[in-house]
């Protein structure tokens, strides 16, 4: 057997262990990102051999017809929902972190939707929200029949129905992040505060809040990027009907249904740039504290 020197052995290891992973990273992460830019300058239909260069025409048509950017507005519903979700998650994280009876059971219950299959969870709500469906029947049963709405049919109600499904599914994620931080706050800090006569609000204001500030901010950023790229829930529950189409759905529709990969790429570039801008901003804001 060929005996290699340590130096040579190292070189073989480095090349053989990095080659495939880096190749995959380039092919499936960097190349598509750059390819997106060049495709956005063409009129490719997804099939043709030749891609005609059209310059900034696709971007121009996005600007000319702002209706195509309308799905961006749905981002704000999901972002508003995500902020409510984060606040609720903080409240429940504090509760399951205190000495309440049944805290573990509550934690399990609130977290479980997060691990469920997306399609299954979304279809649960598709059925739940039906006219004369489980939600309507439940409201009748508890004497709140007056609250019944056309949950998925009314364009004014449906965004909030979908946002509620999203909160149902993702609250547990925020809860567990907050819970992790709360657990790391030393209990003697609260003990000392109590001896000094601090009430629950003061304990929250001066001990809990400073410790969770960073995680809170991070989650708001994550939520924003998440809201920009919502896809599963509206795709499954309403298929984009009644104005629930999100930007990712519109991009895919442009590409795969209307076979306009050039325009779709231009839309994807816009989304990518917005996401990158926000992630950079997050890095800048949270850099020194990490």
């Amino acid at each position: 057997m060929l005996k290699l020197s340590l130096k040579q052995q190292q070189r073989v290891m480095i090349i053989s262990f990095l080659f495939i992973p880096l190749l995959l990273l380039c092919v499936f992460s960097f190349y598509p990102a750059t390819q997106l830019f060049s495709l956005s300058m063409t009129d490719w239909d997804g099939y043709a051999e030749v891609k005609n260069y059209v310059g900034f025409e696709n971007y121009q048509s996005l600007l000319d017809d702002p209706a195509q950017l309308e799905p961006f507005l749905n981002t704000f519903y999901y972002f508003a929902g995500a902020v409510i979700q984060i606040c609720l998650a903080l409240w429940f994280a504090i509760l399951v972190n205190s000495k309440l009876m049944g805290r573990n059971l509550f934690k399990t219950l609130l977290f479980i939707p997060f691990v469920l299959n997306t399609v299954a969870a979304s279809m649960v709500f598709q059925i739940f929200y039906q006219v004369d469906g489980a939600l309507d029947n439940f409201l009748q049963a508890v004497g709140l029949a007056g609250w019944i709405q056309p949950w998925l049919q009314d364009a004014g109600v449906v965004p909030w129905s979908l946002v509620a499904a999203s909160i149902w599914r993702y609250l547990g994620f925020n809860l567990i992040l907050f819970f992790g931080v709360l657990q790391s706050i030393p209990q003697d800090q609260y003990e000392a505060a109590r001896i000094e006569g601090a009430g629950e609000w003061q304990q929250f204001r001066f001990i809990t809040l400073p410790s969770i500030k960073l995680v809170f901010g991070l989650q708001v950023f994550l939520a924003f990027v998440g809201s920009l790229s919502v896809f599963d829930i509206p795709m499954i529950i309403t298929k984009g009907a009644n104005g629930t189409k999100t930007f990712v759905m519109a991009t895919l529709e442009t590409a795969f249904t209307f076979n306009d990969f050039g325009l779709a790429s231009a839309m994807a570039v816009v989304l990518l740039l917005v996401v990158i801008a926000f992630m950079l901003l997050q890095r800048l804001l949270f850099r020194e504290s990490k």
Binding site: S29, S98, N117, M123, A134, Q140, V275
Partner: protein
């Protein structure tokens, strides 16, 4: 003699402590403010629990109802019989669920195997060797995090098509293996906790670098591997986006896409569809209840790195 007095005094202390705690609770309970907050806490927790449970509860009930029963009764009522498995039977046969579970398992196993192999190898090389271009590799992994795959699929589609992988399981397998950057950070961080002296000792014993990776590093990385396996299993079992785009053929349905097609296959047979939903939720719920602690830890770790 001394032991006895000690145990007595310990017991006394405990008793006094318990009495004090009870007194504190009683005095707190006299304060209306405390009672009010206790009430708010429990009421919100109970309301949240009901909100979490009602939607899946209604689906579970529907799964055991006959179609006529489903429309005749309130959706929140219990079915006539919990032994009516007709819906489950039907959905499993007509919904291609067997095939879906098979396809998802194949994709899951191959993806996990290579994710772990590549992830640990990259982490090993990056944390143990100094070489030209190492900085660049690290920067590449950071940059990759800025490109969420949800935005680039229009271009990725072209690559998958050029590779001839449309309707092949390897399309999504490659994407699952190639696009996961968070795990590199989990592995790298864990590698930092493994002392270099172990490597050195093995080297003196005549172990090759590959031997060090295979026999020392890999076994020590087990907890990190467990975290990644859990995170990736949840992700891949639940993913809907990649199989929808790259494997539209019925023979390649995964758990998610099979379920997604139910509204076309079964139309408005909501009882059958409900049974399908329940079948697909069972593995997730079971796994979660078994591995709760690890899942909490894994989700926290993955999010903090990402």
């Amino acid at each position: 003699m001394q032991a006895i007095t000690e145990s007595i005094s310990e017991r006394d202390i405990k008793r006094v402590e318990r009495q004090l705690a009870r007194q504190r609770l009683l005095s707190k309970m006299k304060r209306p403010q405390w009672l009010f907050w206790m009430l708010v806490k429990y009421v919100t927790l109970l309301m949240a629990s009901v909100a979490v449970l009602i939607p899946p509860y209604a689906i579970l009930m529907a799964a055991f109802k006959t179609p006529t029963e489903y429309y005749a009764k309130s959706k929140v009522d219990v079915p006539d019989s919990f032994l009516n498995f007709a819906n489950f039977h039907k959905v499993f046969l007509d919904g291609d669920l067997g095939l879906a579970f098979y396809n998802t398992s194949v994709i899951l196993l191959i993806s996990l195997l290579f994710t772990i192999l590549f992830g640990t190898q990259v982490a090993y090389v990056l944390s143990r060797f100094e070489f030209r271009g190492k900085k660049m590799v690290l920067v590449a992994y950071i940059l990759a995090m800025f490109v969420p795959s949800v935005t680039t699929q229009v271009a990725t589609f072209e690559i998958i098509k050029a590779l001839g992988l449309i309707n092949s399981k390897f399309s999504v397998i490659l994407l699952y293996i190639g696009a996961d950057v968070v795990m590199i950070y989990v592995f790298l961080q864990f590698m930092r906790g493994i002392p270099q002296e172990l490597d050195e000792a093995a080297k003196i014993e005549g172990c090759s670098y590959f031997g060090i990776y295979w026999r020392i590093i890999l076994p020590l990385l087990k907890p990190a591997i467990a975290t990644i396996v859990i995170l990736r299993t949840i992700y891949i079992y639940n993913d809907f986006y990649f199989p929808l785009l790259y494997m539209p053929e019925q023979s390649q349905v995964t758990v998610s896409t099979a379920l997604y097609k139910f509204t076309t296959v079964f139309g408005t047979e909501w009882t059958t569809i409900s049974a399908g939903i329940i079948i697909i939720l069972i593995p997730s719920v079971t796994l979660f209840l078994l591995l709760q602690k690890q899942i909490y830890a894994g989700v926290t770790q993955g999010a903090v790195k990402g």
